[in-house]
């Protein structure tokens, strides 16, 4: 009795070993399978964290709110509302406008800085890079808050100007306005412009610049014909890295925007909070994503056309 069970378990083990070795053999034979297997945990997490949530988000966006629950009949009524009611379109347009201005301002302001470090700093480049990125180690929330202190009615700028006798009333347009949001975003995201710009400028072969000079280009022509086109990848990367996250930013408009500086992120949040209309919030998230994808595509096409023309 004992013997048979022993032999049984032994044969079971052998079978397991055989199937195990078959698996090993299969893995040894198929390089591709091993590659996919190595990547599997990551893909699993991304599947759980991205694909499934998005499918559910899509589904909920087709539902409607009913009291505290949902009416689960599928309908496009939320999308129709998002399209027809002016508030949604207006907030979306304002978000893209604010982010767009902030992105252009950040890239334009950081470009000379990155250029300076790439071309004019010869010793301690690393120290300059660290100096430029250290401020971003502080909390994003507190950096945004610091701008509230600077731009506020009793803030640095207003008290400074009134102490100097330049103004009698504090400048009201500074805080709680789109301007405040743009200034703060440009400051908060500067590191995301400096680093890609610096990397693309640093890569430029200096002998190309010498060649351009030898062939008679002045500094301005040299910049527009060599440096700027070659640093285009950095400009594109920086623009994407800043524009996309800032369109959905919540903190900065919530703290500094006031009623005129509210953005789509705040509207989405309200749907999941105070308004408690989850289906509408899901719809707005999806609309925002589609718009970003469309804008990104247009931006890529335009820059590619421009590069072709230059080249």
């Amino acid at each position: 009795m004992a013997e048979t069970s022993l032999s049984k378990s032994r044969s079971g083990q052998a079978a397991a070993r055989a199937s195990g070795s078959r698996l090993t053999r299969l893995l040894n034979r198929s390089e591709t399978l091993r590659g996919y297997l190595l990547m599997a945990p990551t893909l699993l997490i991304m599947g759980i964290g991205i694909v499934v949530p998005f499918l559910i988000l899509l589904m909920i966006s087709l539902w409607t709110r009913q009291g505290f629950g949902f009416d689960t009949t599928l309908t496009l009524v939320n999308y129709a509302r998002a399209w027809s009611e002016p508030i949604y379109g207006a907030l979306l347009a304002r978000s893209f406008w604010i982010s767009g201005v902030a992105t252009v301002a950040t890239v334009a302001l950081c470009y000379p800085m990155a250029y300076y470090v790439a071309f004019h700093v010869h010793r301690n480049k690393m120290m300059w890079l660290i100096l430029m990125t250290l401020p971003f180690w502080t909390s994003y929330l507190l950096r945004v808050f610091a701008w509230k202190v600077i731009l506020g009615y009793e803030g640095v700028i207003n008290s400074g100007l009134s102490a100097a006798g330049l103004i009698e009333q504090p400048l009201a347009f500074l805080l709680y306005s789109p301007t405040a949001v743009i200034i703060t975003l440009a400051h908060a995201w500067a590191a995301f412009a400096i680093l890609p710009l610096y990397v693309s400028l640093e890569k430029i072969d200096k002998s190309l610049l010498e060649a351009a000079t030898d062939l008679g280009d002045g500094p301005v022509a040299r910049f527009f014909r060599i440096t700027l086109p070659l640093s285009m990848p950095g400009i594109i990367a920086a623009s994407f890295l800043i524009f996309i996250p800032t369109t959905g930013d919540y903190i900065t408009p919530a703290l500094l925007g006031g009623p005129d500086g509210t953005m789509i992120g705040n509207l989405i949040q309200i749907q999941f909070g105070a308004v408690n209309n989850w289906p509408m919030g899901a719809t707005l998230s999806i609309v925002l994503m589609l718009w970003i994808a469309a804008l990104a595509l247009v931006f890529l096409l335009i820059t590619r056309k421009m590069q072709e023309r230059i080249a």
Binding site: E31, T32, G35, Y36, L37, L38, M39, P41, T42, M46, I48, G49, I50, V52, P53, I56, L57, I60, L109, P112, M113, H120, M126, M127, M132, L134, W137, T138, S139, Y140, L141, L142, R143, F145, A146, W147, V149, I150, G152, E154, S159, H187, K206, T213, F240, I244, T247, G248, D249, Y250, I251, G265, I268, Q269, W278, A282, S285, L288, M289, I292
Partner: protein, 274 residues
Amino acid sequence: MSTGSYIKRPNRALQVYAVLFLVVLYVPVLFIPLFSFNDAVHVRFPLQGFTMRWYSELWSRQALWNSLWNSVRVGLVVAVISTILGVLTARSITRYRLKGKGALVGFIMMPLVIPGIIFGVALLVLLSRMGVPLSLWTVGLGHLIICLPFAVATLLPRFEGFDPSIEEASADLGENGWWTFWRVTFPMALPGIVASLLLSFTISFDEFIMAFFLTGTDPTLPMYIWGQLRFPKEFPSVLAMASLILFVSFVLVFIAQWVGRMGLESQEKEGLQS
């Protein structure tokens, strides 16, 4: 001046711009330590006088320390998991010929081109549908998704320049796959691994919008700061804590820089001797 050195000619205007740029970059950040020594609950000018009160009171702010501890725990777990997954992914991308590699990499990098608020909302909807209670674990899952692309992006270049013959040599010398990994692959990828750990931790530590949607009853540090911004009761303590964190990270960055330079110099010396 020779014609060849025009690129090296110092540009006065750019130098002035660079200094101004750094000033504008630093002034808002330096308000945080400045007001942490200010003797008033409300943060506004004029300054009320110097005090160390907020720092001495810091020890009794249990809620603040709890939220800091929560953020550190989430950050550490997220950093370790995203780096491990990043190593596996970077390795499989560079080592094996995979079909649809481009699409897979694009998929992993997706969180870089979608605003965080959408991920937060989508995960919130999923978790509430599944009846999963919100906790630090759900925050961690959210952070993991946004940290993974950064981990993979930092690790990929480390693995791309990897010479497979070194691993083959190790196998020829009788090491099995596991020991080859620990004794050959891991040390060569170490700088990338350290960078990925640091980057993931930093992102998770400061992340707000995911935590905003996914936090249960235990707030992370940014969530706690958010609460204090709206209803300031202990706000100067937050400033004191933030100043301490700022100071510690400054010191860490400079130590890392200094150690790195020492390593370089000693390598150069060894190079000269040999």
